[in-house]
């Protein structure tokens, strides 16, 4: 009997191992197929769409959105979907909430399982990966050229570039911000500074920060974004005339003098004491408590800051990102675009209708006023039918709007190790701003290590 049980257990284990091996093979095969242009997933979705359209006229598109996965932004995003559905009764948008940090993993798993979402809201730093590995479809292949051109009338030309790669438009900018300098007008007044105007250059900011520190005992300043994602770091590097990646997308350049100079400025702010030594979360807390005077961050936190200012009895003001002396700033966008991943023609058309609505005058009105991001149709800001009243009631959005004219796309790194490249840069920045000496070796070393991760 002992022997028999032993054999059964052995057989069971072998079966388990074999099944696991088969699963892996299946996943790899699917993954490869999806990577090679989404052929496998196309067949899958085409079949399901065909059965859907034959059973009725209504087309359902599956949308992964991280704004739906955030309590504060869920309602506005749902309103966008509801209004779209009311205007397009033949299309149903099934909104699926997925946190922004997990959305790529979920899309990847769904592609392996042969059922990718039809539309996904993906963060811009994953643009290259979405195009080359998720099989995102360029709008130029889905929409006739004249219709596309007509739709983009009135669209910010800079804004349109955000979701483009190799000359094709893969993502339509959905919810994004630019780096905004929020400041505490009360602390400015207490320190003898002009509360109606934030510092225009980094040199001025350093001086203001030191003056505030000396006269009010509050901390001067904090730049968020040395951890997480590199859009603010890219803004700084770009504003000093540098680049993180060459135009041909082959060579990393964040170890070059202009880029190093930008981070040196940040290091100098920290070393001089004008910049605090807190992490981003602590700095936010300090700012909301009126213990830090200035913070450079995303406009998405504006409502939270307004609430804190009201409760703490101080006034929140905003100004554009400061510049390096004599150079125009190059604000980089944060946030996400909507990508069409479906391989089915009918669903692609339905998805295009949704993208069109989300980036229409009405769509951007909801995105700006209800979700807290930026409109990429500049004219609606002065149009009483759309955002005019709202902008007048919320003047803090103005510096952010002004920066749109100089907007630069958030550069996504190529290849499967894109995220590791981004992390390598950020870690070098963290190390640099915390160090006292020359940071050139740190940044160059990071560039060399990251270059080895490039495809």
């Amino acid at each position: 009997m002992t022997r028999k049980t032993g054999w059964t257990a052995a057989l069971l284990t072998l079966t388990m191992i074999a099944t696991a091996a088969c699963d892996k093979t299946a996943a790899e095969t699917n993954g490869e197929a999806a990577g090679a242009g989404g052929d496998a997933s196309e067949t899958g979705t085409a079949t399901s769409a065909a059965s859907a359209s034959s059973s009725g006229d209504k087309i359902t598109i599956k949308l992964y959105s991280y704004n739906l996965a955030t309590v504060g932004q869920k309602e506005g995003t749902q309103q966008l979907i509801d209004e779209f559905e009311a205007a397009h009764p033949n299309i149903h948008v099934e909104g699926i909430p997925v946190a922004s940090t997990d959305i790529n993993a979920k899309v990847q798993a769904d592609i392996a399982a042969g059922s990718p979402p039809d539309v996904a809201q993906l963060v811009f730093d994953g643009l290259d990966y979405a195009v080359n590995n998720f099989g995102a479809k360029p709008l130029e292949d889905i929409v006739p050229a004249d219709e596309l051109a007509k739709n983009f009338e009135g669209f910010s030309p800079n804004g349109l570039k955000l979701g483009q790669l190799n000359g094709k438009t893969y993502g339509l900018p959905f919810t994004f911000s630019t780096p905004v300098l929020f400041y505490n007008a009360k602390l400015f007044k207490d320190a003898g500074l002009n509360p109606d105007q934030g510092p225009a250059t980094w040199a001025e900011l350093k001086q203001d920060g030191l003056q505030i520190k000396e006269k009010t005992k509050a901390a001067g300043f904090h730049i968020t974004g040395a951890v997480g994602a590199d859009w603010i770091v890219q803004s700084l590097i770009g504003s000093n005339g540098g680049q993180v990646l060459s135009d041909d997308r082959k060579t990393l350049r964040f170890g070059e003098p202009e880029a190093v100079g930008a981070i040196q400025m940040w290091q100098d702010l920290v070393q001089s004491g004008a910049h605090d030594k807190l992490n981003d979360t602590e700095a936010f807390e300090a700012f909301t408590q009126g213990k830090t005077a200035m913070v450079l961050t995303s406009s998405a936190v504006q409502n939270m800051l307004l609430g804190a200012a009201k409760a703490g009895g101080w006034e929140l003001k905003a100004s554009a990102m400061p510049s390096f002396d004599g150079k125009p700033t190059a604000p980089v966008n944060s946030g996400s675009a909507l990508f069409i991943l479906s391989g089915d023609k009918a669903k692609q058309q339905a998805a295009w209708e949704f993208l069109k609505f989300a980036t229409s005058e009405r769509g951007y009105t909801i995105i700006t006023s209800k979700i807290g991001y930026l409109p990429l149709r500049p004219a609606i800001v002065d149009d009483p039918q759309y955002l005019k009243d709202w902008v007048e009631a919320n003047p803090l959005v103005k510096p952010n709007l002004e920066q749109l004219s100089r907007l630069q796309p958030w550069v996504s790194y190529p290849g499967p190790s894109w995220y590791q490249i981004e992390t390598t840069l950020l870690e070098a920045v963290q190390k640099s701003i915390a160090s006292a000496g020359d940071i050139t070796p740190i940044m160059q070393d990071a560039q060399n290590r990251a270059q080895a991760l490039m495809p």
């Binding site: 191992i17 996943a27 392996a112 399982a113 804190a308």
Partner: protein
């Protein structure tokens, strides 16, 4: 006098030990306390450092309850974690018994293989698992959440260690008396090792309860998902809604607390016996 000095020395050591223990328990309890207190603070006081809210409010709980389908998610979490725990215990008790009772050819190899799977990170197997679960049409279902987790290498290894400590002579005596393996397992070993099994059960339940990534992959609707996914709704890349998040987290930690209180005696007993590392 010599005795007196020793007494004084002893008490000084005791005081020292207690001071360390008090400091450690403070470190363990304070975050928990802070979570609960923060959940009762109005939004404007969230970042304040006062130990008690200046104005108590239930608003965070109301907001947490209305923002996500809390009761539904809680029920899903409870069902999933409980089913996983029961199934994992069942499979690992049977496995542990087999490994202790019989030395068959390849038993060491099988045990090593099981132990090795414990070292495989979830990220490696999540996509294959997901493809299988999708193929079975179990996406967005509780079964899809539970089935990949009905066996636990950790539990097999822990229970094997516990079962090995059970006197073999007793088992053999029972067999001589004509008891079947089934009877030996459930009537002899199980009642005697209840403490170890209970403490492993608590750990398994906590693991199941805290699981985030698998529910994230398998479910698409909040109503079909677990509470851990709900908690994420109060966090975003830019800012967190601390008040409702702390309220929801407080609610989410209650079941674990209740289970710990219920099984406290067994858990402490098991720690005292040194059965768990």
């Amino acid at each position: 006098m010599g005795q007196h000095a020793r007494f004084r020395r002893l008490s000084a050591t005791a005081v020292g030990k207690h001071a360390v223990l008090i400091a450690l328990s403070f470190l363990a309890v304070f975050p928990f306390y802070w979570m609960i207190v923060t959940s009762f603070k109005p939004e404007t006081d969230i970042f304040g450092s006062s130990l008690l809210p200046a104005h108590w409010t239930f608003q965070n709980y109301v907001q947490a309850w209305t923002a996500i389908p809390m009761s539904r998610m809680m029920a899903n979490s409870l069902l999933t974690a409980a089913a996983q725990t029961v199934m994992q215990l069942l499979t690992s008790i049977l496995a542990a018994y087999a490994f202790t009772r019989w030395q068959f050819r390849g038993s060491n190899l099988i045990f090593t293989l099981i132990a090795l799977t414990w070292l495989v990170p979830f990220q490696v197997i999540m996509i294959p698992n997901y493809v299988v679960i999708s193929g079975w049409g179990l996406r967005d279902t509780l079964m899809g959440l539970i089935i990949p987790n009905i066996a636990s290498a950790f539990a097999v290894m822990q229970l094997y260690a516990a079962f090995k400590s059970f006197p073999k002579a007793l088992i053999e005596a029972a067999h001589l008396d004509g008891a079947s393996d089934w009877a030996v397992l459930w009537k002899m070993i199980f009642p005697n090792l209840r403490a170890s099994i209970a403490s492993i059960a608590v750990l398994l339940f906590i693991t199941g309860w805290n699981d985030y990534f698998w529910p994230l992959l398998v479910t698409t609707k909040l109503e079909h998902s677990t509470l851990q996914i709900g908690l994420q709704m109060f966090m975003s890349s830019d800012s967190n809604l601390w008040g409702p998040l702390m309220a929801a987290t407080t609610v989410a930690s209650l079941p674990i607390l209740v289970i710990y209180l219920l099984l406290q005696r067994q858990i402490i007993e098991s720690f005292v016996k040194g059965g768990l590392r």
